[in-house]
Chain length 387, copies 2
Amino acid sequence: MNNFDFYNPTRIVFGDKTIAKLDELLAKDAKVLLLYGGQSAKKTGTLDEVKAALGQRQVAEFGGIEPNPTYETLIKAVEMIKAQSFDFLLAVGGGSVIDGTKFIAAAACFDDEKDPWSILENYGTNITQALPFGSVLTLPATGSEMNNGGVVTHKGKHAKLPFRSPLVYPQFSILDPTKTYTLPERQIANGVVDAFVHTVEQYLTYPVEGMIQDRFAEGILQTLIEVGPKALAEPNNYDVRANLMWSATMALNGLIGAGVPQDWATHMVGHELTAMHGIDHARTLAIVLPGMLQIRKESKAAKLKQYAQRVWHITEGSDDEMIDQAIAKTEEFFQQMGIGTRLSDYDLDEATIEPLTEQLKAHGMVALGENNDVTPEISANVLKLRI
Amino acid sequence: MNNFDFYNPTRIVFGDKTIAKLDELLAKDAKVLLLYGGQSAKKTGTLDEVKAALGQRQVAEFGGIEPNPTYETLIKAVEMIKAQSFDFLLAVGGGSVIDGTKFIAAAACFDDEKDPWSILENYGTNITQALPFGSVLTLPATGSEMNNGGVVTHKGKHAKLPFRSPLVYPQFSILDPTKTYTLPERQIANGVVDAFVHTVEQYLTYPVEGMIQDRFAEGILQTLIEVGPKALAEPNNYDVRANLMWSATMALNGLIGAGVPQDWATHMVGHELTAMHGIDHARTLAIVLPGMLQIRKESKAAKLKQYAQRVWHITEGSDDEMIDQAIAKTEEFFQQMGIGTRLSDYDLDEATIEPLTEQLKAHGMVALGENNDVTPEISANVLKLRI
């Protein structure tokens, strides 16, 4: 097992009717800014439920945080906070709203002399203070509700950059599975695949005897395989949605990645597909991952075999056959979730590969993966397998 | 899945040579009180290593915290702190030293007008403040390094009581697996069984569709079954000790117990065996657990079958046969760790059962277990199976 440092102070309040707990979670005299995305938080009644729970507290709203939240939008919330000085930010939404709120919390405390975008340029290392914030999660997928990272897009600069800081853990996150009942199928399917690939990126590398980490990762993957299709078929099944929600949180809260190598090459190539062609993040992962595993199966062989045996219960065939079966099963699972796994499913062909490889080079993504050996050429070969 | 509230802010610094990180973890001007148990922290050099890492900081020592730490000893540390006002407490040892330090941290900030023992009488609910503290763990077993509970014995009152409070989480815990190399076999064996039974108490109840919790618990149990015997056979095997250490921490840091029923009847009966006959805590659990599972197998049938299949990979026989095999395997595992699983292994016979049942009644342990249906009579029947 590798050495590690694990710290996660976010309090999780999980279950049915837990939004009412906001009254205990926040100071009675807190002046609160509610942050949310589009109309769904209003239409579903979640925003009203949150406001009711906040009772007599002073509450203002900032809506319109978009999927892939933009600096241009978020900075308006920062200005609002500087003008009106709130004590607490409360994000109501999914990963984009929570990611955006993390940036806003840090930027609102940032030195007036400095450009807040520099937080992104420094991957968050220059954050020295942040407003306290919490979240009410409505979309299980990214894990942002229990981690300290976020991604912000600067439209003006054509940049999408990540940041993290120990100062931007949510103080608490409320996870009420019933709030996911009204989500569109597409978002549920994306959430399942996103959580699945988050887990794979921290698990399918090379063995370092991280036995607990492996077992936990395998447990999350097996749970997602079991609940994913049911989450589409039975949208009001509480236990299915609860297990999906807790799986997605556990997939990216630092625990399964502590003390083990991590890959993330699939994510980096996927980001370029989103940037160039607007494909949903999770869908880009479903396209790229089977190719990454296929092309890199030699260096990943030991873990791929373990994945075949423990997650997919494949026991027949040579090691290579077992691995091929496991990769095929992975792709079938994504398809079962209604997600296209080929570039051609998104009307893309071989012509997309060269410009995308150039973008990887332009963004410095030239030595990806747990062994830093995934060159742009290898990424191109991965994509050639995925036409 | 049941509703739950999960919060655990302890930072874990894990790995070889991590004691040196104390220098980053503590303020440069901190005045530190080191707390430890017997001579082993000195003899092994761990205490010196800790002091070296603390560099020029003002450091005082308080040694002699015993296994099953006593109020009488701990209160002397409280007096020392009140007289000399330290900023930070640093526990160097196992569960007893860390449990004791939690009490000291709270009692040192307790109202001078009030009796600090009332902290135990109120299960910690009257703690309003505690000194910050951390730990350097030398003995993997109890999980105290990453939870907010402790147990203190009052010799004068013949009482052993638990307490907990969100204010007594260690700020950090350093887990260096090499520090366990010199532990006696008996302590390693006890630690493995203690962590195993902690997990079982939160897992072998009745199903509530806590799929992630079940998978994680099964992962810890499978890891302990794999590393336990190796930890005895290969005391200097780093990965074995690392996985044992991380398993024991994960077994009782709140995660696998969040959102699921919990039992703890085995622990309550075991505590009486320790109190009356001085048997090591883990050994009492090894005596009691197989009987608890046998007698209560009807109400635990669904989870026992799952345990048989997923943890012990038993696939043959009727449900009842599979369950019996799993209980037998559990007992064999404890024996494989060199631990006696019968009262007679500790020179006790049937005569011990009635007085012990009376003690359970005297301590209010009359409705134990996840269904509150384990009466003293049932506990007596459990022990009759264990002669």
